[in-house]
């Protein structure tokens, strides 16, 4: 193992690394031991708190799986509505006409600046006021509305970045063969931008799925997150339930994240396209940059 940051370890450095490994292991073990002994003290390690997840299939069929279903449902509905809306806003923001570009830009920046939880609270209150949605469907509507408002504006930025990342020559060539503005957008830029944005869109789906948990915790939406209350009420195993729910979220999201970075790598290497790609985490962290010092060995 070597990297630009350190020399290939010689005998002395190897010993030192072993010492560090040992010390780090001791620290980790101490933390783990402290946590476990605290849990044992409060009877959280008892077998009957953890066994329901293995022995009692009802925990899965009545709580966890329907909860996961609701989470995925809300996430997918939000994505399906936010995608065309976001694409429209993103393209409108690139318009040549200031009277389209400026208002759309304001709307996008406004909804990007507001926490999604507040948008959910507001949509919920709005549906109460309108009185058109039955009260058992209201949490789902509020969650989806909040997610759509926020994510449409984030997707608008992804779409804009996707179109702007294409080489200038694409527009120039299209202009040279006499295409109109609308034709350039629909036949040349958008189809290429869609491939470039795919990784970012998959990552955004992860963000949406994580945000649905807000509905479960604050709006009474019957998603995976809210099941923690129901299961721990029946089996009084708060920590075990939390851990299992976390593992389900992590499994789903990790699969999506891995898929996104695989897609990104594939698109970057692809010989067919222009090689333009919007990095997966454009929404939350604007990562990127050339290969340098910290590149994984």
């Amino acid at each position: 193992m070597s990297s630009v940051l350190y020399d290939t370890p010689g005998p002395k450095a190897k010993t030192r690394n072993w010492v560090y490994t040992g010390a780090f292991l001791v620290v980790l073990a101490l933390v783990l031991w402290w946590a476990l002994s605290l849990m044992a003290e409060k009877n959280q390690l008892d077998a009957d708190k953890w066994s329901p997840f293995v022995t009692d299939s009802q925990v899965w069929t009545t709580y966890l799986l329907p909860g996961l279903g609701e989470t995925l449902k809300a996430g997918l509905i939000a994505m399906v509505i936010a995608l065309p809306l976001g694409a429209l806003l993103g393209i409108a923001r690139l318009s040549d006409h200031a009277w389209i570009r400026v208002p759309v830009g304001t709307v996008v920046e406004f909804f990007r600046a507001i926490p999604v939880l507040m948008l959910m609270f507001f949509s919920s209150a709005l549906y109460v006021m309108l009185g058109t949605v039955s009260s058992d469907l209201r949490p789902l509507y509020a969650v989806v509305t909040g997610l759509v408002l926020y994510n449409a504006s984030v997707i608008a930025e992804i779409v804009r970045a996707g179109i702007l990342t294409l080489p200038r020559g694409q527009t120039d060539a299209a202009k040279a063969i006499g295409m109109r503005k609308g034709q350039i957008m629909t036949y040349v830029l958008v189809p290429q931008a869609v491939t470039a944005m795919l990784p970012a869109l998959v990552s955004q789906l992860v963000v949406i799925l994580k945000d649905t948990a807000l509905g479960g915790a604050a709006l009474g939406f019957a998603d995976l997150m809210s099941m923690n209350r129901q299961i721990s009420a029946n089996y009084s195993n708060t920590i075990a339930t939390m851990v299992v729910i976390a593992l389900i979220y992590i499994a789903v999201n990790f699969a999506l994240t891995t898929f996104a970075s695989w897609l990104e790598g594939r698109l970057r290497k692809s010989q067919k396209g222009t090689g333009a790609v919007v990095a997966g985490d454009v929404a939350e962290v604007d990562a990127g940059g050339a290969a340098g010092v910290g590149e994984a060995p």
């Binding site: 193992m1 630009v4 940051l5 350190y6 020399d7 370890p9 450095a13 690394n17 490994t21 780090f24 292991l25 605290l38 409060k42 959280q44 600046a113 507001i114 926490p115 999604v116 939880l117 507040m118 609270f121 507001f122 919920s124 209150a125 709005l126 109460v128 006021m129 799925l209 994580k210 945000d211 649905t212 948990a213 807000l214 479960g216 915790a217 604050a218 997150m225 923690n228 721990s232 708060t238 920590i239 939390m242 976390a246 979220y249 992590i250 999201n253 990790f254 994240t257 985490d281 939350e284 962290v285 604007d286 990562a287 990127g288 940059g289 050339a290 340098g292 010092v293 910290g294 590149e295």
Partner: protein, 224 residues
């Protein structure tokens, strides 16, 4: 329409002050924790690298809501950890900061790692040629240059963090979102006005952060 602001019933500024405090404490904490994680992820010790990668991949894929609820229901109510907070209010605040640091640290770590990638290889090679150790290369040569390159991404993380503090409402910390929920229920005839007030509050908090740090990022960027 906005008369609920004068009724004296709601402390809007106080709620936003709690939001600001949550943001500041979590920002400092996650900057430290994120830098440590980034250091671990590029370190020569394999176990630290594994731990850093595993931590980032796990926590980044967990909903923040779950982390903060876990701090409250798991750490506090089940295991009795109160982080030295005496009252319910104090404890809730500290637990929320803990959850936010654990979550935001992963994003800081990834931002710094991408910043380390922007430092030319020659810098670290020259430092090693002078006989500096890994720790010296990292703290004296690479990180100072990396930090200057990641101000803009870190500003995005800070803005996301400001918005994420609202999640603390789910464990009853009296910040802006919780007050907004209460006001939406009480002032049901003026929900647009209530929404406008809180939306404005967040625009006021996040917009200057972005502009100021964007300006700083341009000023301190290493010209290459």
């Amino acid at each position: 329409m906005f008369d609920f602001l004068n009724s004296g019933q709601y402390d809007v500024l106080g709620a936003f002050w709690v939001t600001v405090q949550l943001t500041l404490y979590s920002a400092v904490g996650s900057l430290i924790w994120g830098t440590m994680l980034a250091g671990m992820r590029v370190s020569p010790v394999p176990l630290m690298r594994t731990f850093g990668t595993a931590y980032v991949n796990t926590v980044r894929n967990t909903p923040l809501t779950l982390l903060i609820l876990g701090c409250s229901l798991g750490l506090n109510q089940t295991l009795g950890i109160s982080l030295g907070g005496g009252t319910f209010k104090e404890t809730g605040f500290r637990l929320a900061v803990l959850g936010l640091i654990a979550y935001t640290g992963t994003f800081v770590c990834e931002a710094i790692r991408s910043g380390i990638n922007t430092v030319p290889v020659g810098q670290a090679e020259a430092a090693r040629a002078l006989g500096l150790s890994f720790f010296q290369v990292l703290t004296l040569i690479v990180l100072p240059q990396a930090f200057r390159a990641v101000i803009a991404p870190l500003a995005n993380v800070l803005i996301a963090l400001t918005k994420n503090t609202t999640v603390a409402a789910t464990i009853g910390v009296a910040e802006a979102a919780l007050l907004m929920k209460e006001m939406l229920e009480n002032e049901s005839d003026a929900i647009f006005a209530v929404f406008a007030v809180f939306a404005l509050g967040f625009v006021v908090l996040t917009l200057p952060t972005g502009l100021l740090l964007g300006w700083v990022a341009k000023r301190v960027a290493v010209k290459r």
